[in-house]
C-alpha cells in the first residue's frame, strides 16, 4: 500500500478538557492521527467517548486544550476567531445528526448560506447552489423549506451546503442518527460517492458498525477520549 507523503489532516497529542463545575473532565486525551487526502475514515465509539469533540476540533468549531491540528498545511489549532471562521467557510464542510438547516429558509437558500459568507455575488451563488442540489438529487425540492422535506432530504441539503465553497474535507457527525436504515444507507452512499468521484476526504462519526464496515476505508475507535484502535478495512 502506497503511503501518502503528507496527510491532509494530522493531529498531534490533541487534548480537550472541559471544566464542569470544579471538576476537569478530559473529553479527548492525546489523540494523534493522520488522514490522507481522499480517504473515507470512520470514527466510532460509545457515546461520551469523545467522537463529537474530535470532530468539532477538526471542523474548527472548538479549540483544543493542548496539541495541534494541521489541515492542508494550515495550523488550525493556533488560528484566531476570524481565521477559524474562514477555515470553516472554505477548509472543512460539516454535516450533523440534526441537519442544522435554517428553518426559515428554503433548501436553495440554505445551500447558498456559506456562499453568502464567502461574499459570492447573488447570481453566481444561486447558480452554484442549484448545481449542488442537483448533485445530491434534490433539484426538484429547491424551493421547499426544511419542514417540508423528509429527514433524508434534509441531510442531502446539508451535504450540498457543506460542499458549497468546495472544501477538500467533509466532516460528518452521526449523519444517520436521525434516519431509518434505508435512508442511512443512501446518505452514507452519497458521501462515499463524493469521496470517490471528487477525491473528497470524509471523516464520519458513527456507531453503526455495519455501515462503517461497508463504506469506510479506515476505522478509528475511541474510548474515554483516547484512540484504542485504528484499522483499515480496505
Amino acid at each position: 500500500m502506497k503511503m501518502d507523503p503528507s496527510p491532509l489532516v494530522e493531529t498531534r497529542s490533541l487534548s480537550k478538557t472541559y471544566l464542569i463545575g470544579d471538576v476537569r473532565v478530559a473529553a479527548l486525551a492525546d489523540v494523534t492521527m493522520a488522514v490522507a487526502e481522499g480517504r473515507f475514515v470512520a470514527v466510532t465509539g460509545a457515546s461520551g467517548s469523545g467522537k463529537s469533540t474530535l470532530l468539532n476540533l477538526l471542523g474548527g468549531l472548538d479549540t483544543p486544550s493542548a496539541g495541534t491540528i494541521e489541515v492542508g498545511g494550515a495550523l488550525v489549532s493556533s488560528m484566531d476567531r476570524e481565521a477559524l471562521a474562514r477555515y470553516r467557510r472554505f477548509g472543512a464542510g460539516m454535516i450533523f445528526q440534526s441537519f442544522n438547516l435554517v428553518a426559515a429558509r428554503t433548501a436553495l437558500e440554505n445551500v447558498e448560506m456559506p456562499l453568502i459568507f464567502a461574499g459570492v455575488e447573488k447570481k453566481e451563488r444561486r447558480h452554484r447552489a442549484a448545481e449542488l442540489l442537483e448533485k445530491v438529487g434534490l433539484a426538484h425540492r429547491a424551493a421547499h423549506r426544511p419542514s417540508e422535506l423528509s429527514g433524508g432530504e434534509q441531510q442531502r441539503v446539508a451535504v450540498a451546503r457543506a460542499l458549497a465553497n468546495g472544501p477538500r474535507l467533509l466532516l460528518a457527525d452521526e449523519p444517520t442518527g436521525n434516519l431509518d436504515s434505508r435512508t442511512s444507507r443512501e446518505i452514507v452512499g452519497l458521501l462515499a460517492g463524493l469521496n470517490r468521484e471528487r477525491n473528497l476526504t470524509v471523516i464520519m462519526v458513527s456507531h453503526e458498525e455495519a455501515l462503517v464496515r461497508e463504506y469506510a476505508q479506515e476505522i478509528v475507535r475511541l474510548r474515554d477520549g483516547r484512540i484504542v484502535a485504528a484499522e483499515g478495512t480496505a
Binding site: E82, R88, A162
Partner: protein
C-alpha cells in the same frame, strides 16, 4: 459577507418577527415624535419672537430712563421698585433733555414715553385704559403697524389709533368698521401744585383729591392688529395711541404711579422713559454713551438679543431633555428586543458560524437589525411629531382665535429637524445594538448547535 446580504439577512429576521419589530419601532417612533415636536415648538417660539422683534423696529430703539438700574416693563407697578429710587442723580428726563437727545448724531427721533390713564368709550361701551402719546413720525413707522385705516399724519392731527382688541371689547368686532367712529377719552387730572403745597398726607389717605374730569372726542383714524409676541419695550403696548398735539390739550393725571411723586426734581417732573429711534444700528454705542454722559440709563434690545438667544438655547435644551426621556426608553426597548432575538436565534447563530460566518458577519447582521428599527422608527417618528404639532397648532389657534388672536404657527420645521431626527434615531439604535451585536458574535457554535 456583502453589505447588501447583511441588510437582507437583517430585514428577513425583522420580517419574521413582525409584531415585535413593529412594537419596538413604535417605541422609537414615539420617542422621536416627542423630540421632533418639542424641538419644533422651541424653534417655532424663537422664530415668532425674533420675527416680531425684527418687524417692530425694536432693534433700532434705545430706551432712555432716569438713572438707576431699572429695566423697562409694561407693568407700571413693577417699573420702579422702591429700593432703586435712592441715590438717583439729579438729571431730569424732561422736554429739554429729549430735545438734547434728539440732537445727538445718529438719532432719528426721540420721543417721551408718556401715557396717562383715561376712560375710553365707544358707542356707550367703556373701558379704563392707558392712553399713549406717540409722535406721528413713529405712528407712521414700522413700529406701529396700522392695519386698517391709516396713522395720523401730523403731530397735531385730531385722531387716535386703537388696537383691534380694544375695538372688540368696545363692541366693534370688525376692525375696519371701527375706522371713522368717534372715541371719547375722559381724563382725570389733579392740581399738582396743590398736592405739593398741601403735603402728601391728603393724597395718601385718599381724601381731598382735587380731581377734575374732562371729555374729548376723537375720530378713530386707524386700527392696529394684535401682535401675539410683541412683548418688550414697544410703543404698541397700549391700546390707544394719540399724537402729541391733541394730547397736550387734554388735562391729565401726569402720573401713573405714586413713585412719580418722589421723582420730582425741584418741582419738575421728568418722563419715566424716552424712546430713541436710531437711523442705523451702527450708531448704537455712540448714542448710548452720549446719553449716559447726560446722566441717564439706557436699555437697548439689541444688547439683550444675545441673552434672548441664549435663553432660547436653554429652552431648546430643556425641551430636548424631555424628549430624550422617551428616546432612552425606546433605546432600552431596542436592547431588550435584540437580546431576546439572540436567545431565540441562538441555534441559528450557531449554524451560521458552523457554515463559515465570522464574528464580524454576525455582528453586522444584528447591528443592521437594530439600525433598521431605528431608521423606520425615526422616519415614522418624524411623521408623528409633525402630525401631532399640526394638530396641537390647530387646536390652540382655534381657541385663541375666539379671543381675537391672529393665526400663529407655534411650531417651526426647518428641514434639518427631520434629517437630524432620523440621523439621531439611527445613531441611538446603533448604539443600542452594540451590546446585543457583540453578544451574538461571541456565541460559541458548539454550545449553540447542542442547544434545542
Amino acid at each position: 459577507m456583502r453589505f447588501a446580504d447583511a441588510v437582507e439577512f437583517a430585514l428577513a429576521s425583522l420580517r419574521k418577527r413582525r409584531l415585535r419589530t413593529f412594537l419596538t419601532a413604535s417605541g422609537v417612533m414615539i420617542g422621536i415624535g416627542a423630540l421632533v415636536s418639542m424641538i419644533s415648538f422651541g424653534k417655532g417660539m424663537q422664530k415668532n419672537v425674533t420675527a416680531a422683534f425684527e418687524a417692530s423696529d425694536l432693534f433700532n430703539t434705545v430706551m432712555v430712563m432716569p438713572s438707576g438700574p431699572e429695566g423697562p416693563s409694561g407693568d407700571p407697578d413693577e417699573r420702579r421698585p422702591a429700593g432703586r429710587e435712592t441715590g438717583r442723580k439729579d438729571a431730569v428726563l424732561d422736554a429739554a433733555a429729549v430735545a438734547e437727545i434728539s440732537r445727538i448724531p445718529g438719532v432719528r427721533t426721540a420721543y417721551p414715553d408718556i401715557n396717562f390713564p383715561a376712560l375710553v368709550s365707544l358707542e356707550g361701551e367703556e373701558e379704563f385704559r392707558l392712553v399713549q402719546v406717540v409722535p406721528a413720525a413713529v405712528a407712521g413707522s414700522k413700529a406701529v403697524e396700522v392695519k386698517w385705516g391709516r396713522p395720523y399724519a401730523t403731530d397735531n392731527e385730531e385722531g387716535v389709533i386703537v388696537s383691534r382688541t380694544l375695538a372688540r371689547r368696545l363692541g366693534t368686532a370688525d376692525p375696519a368698521a371701527a375706522v371713522g367712529k368717534t372715541l371719547r377719552i375722559t381724563s382725570v387730572s389733579i392740581d399738582l401744585g396743590q398736592i405739593m403745597s398741601g403735603g402728601l398726607e391728603g393724597l395718601l389717605t385718599g381724601k381731598g383729591l382735587p380731581v377734575s374730569q374732562e371729555a374729548h372726542d376723537f375720530p378713530i383714524v386707524g386700527v392696529i392688529d394684535v401682535t401675539p409676541f410683541g412683548g418688550g419695550p414697544s410703543p404698541m403696548q397700549n391700546d390707544v395711541l394719540i399724537a402729541p398735539g391733541p394730547a397736550g390739550r387734554i388735562k391729565r393725571l401726569p402720573i401713573t404711579s405714586i413713585w412719580d411723586l418722589f421723582r420730582m426734581q425741584g418741582g419738575r417732573l421728568g418722563y419715566s422713559a424716552v424712546s430713541v429711534k436710531l437711523g442705523s444700528l451702527g450708531d448704537l454705542e455712540s448714542v448710548k454713551s452720549r446719553v449716559r454722559e447726560m446722566g441717564f440709563t439706557t436699555f437697548a434690545l439689541a444688547d439683550q438679543f444675545e441673552e434672548i438667544t441664549k435663553a432660547f438655547f436653554f429652552m431648546d435644551m430643556i425641551l430636548a431633555a424631555v424628549g430624550m426621556i422617551a428616546i432612552v426608553v425606546a433605546a432600552l426597548g431596542i436592547v431588550n428586543t435584540m437580546v431576546m432575538s439572540i436567545l431565540e436565534r441562538f441555534r441559528e447563530i450557531g449554524v451560521m458560524k458552523a457554515v463559515g460566518a465570522g464574528d464580524r458577519d454576525i455582528r453586522r447582521i444584528f447591528f443592521f437589525e437594530s439600525g433598521a428599527i431605528g431608521l423606520a422608527g425615526g422616519a415614522a417618528g418624524c411623521a408623528l411629531g409633525w402630525a401631532t404639532s399640526l394638530l396641537i397648532n390647530r387646536v390652540v389657534n382655534f381657541y385663541l382665535a375666539r379671543q381675537g388672536m391672529p393665526f400663529v404657527n407655534y411650531f417651526a420645521f426647518p428641514f434639518w429637524i427631520f434629517l437630524g431626527a432620523v440621523g439621531f434615531s439611527l445613531i441611538v439604535s446603533l448604539v443600542s445594538g452594540i451590546y446585543p451585536a457583540r453578544r451574538a458574535a461571541r456565541v460559541d457554535p458548539v454550545v449553540a448547535l447542542r442547544h434545542d
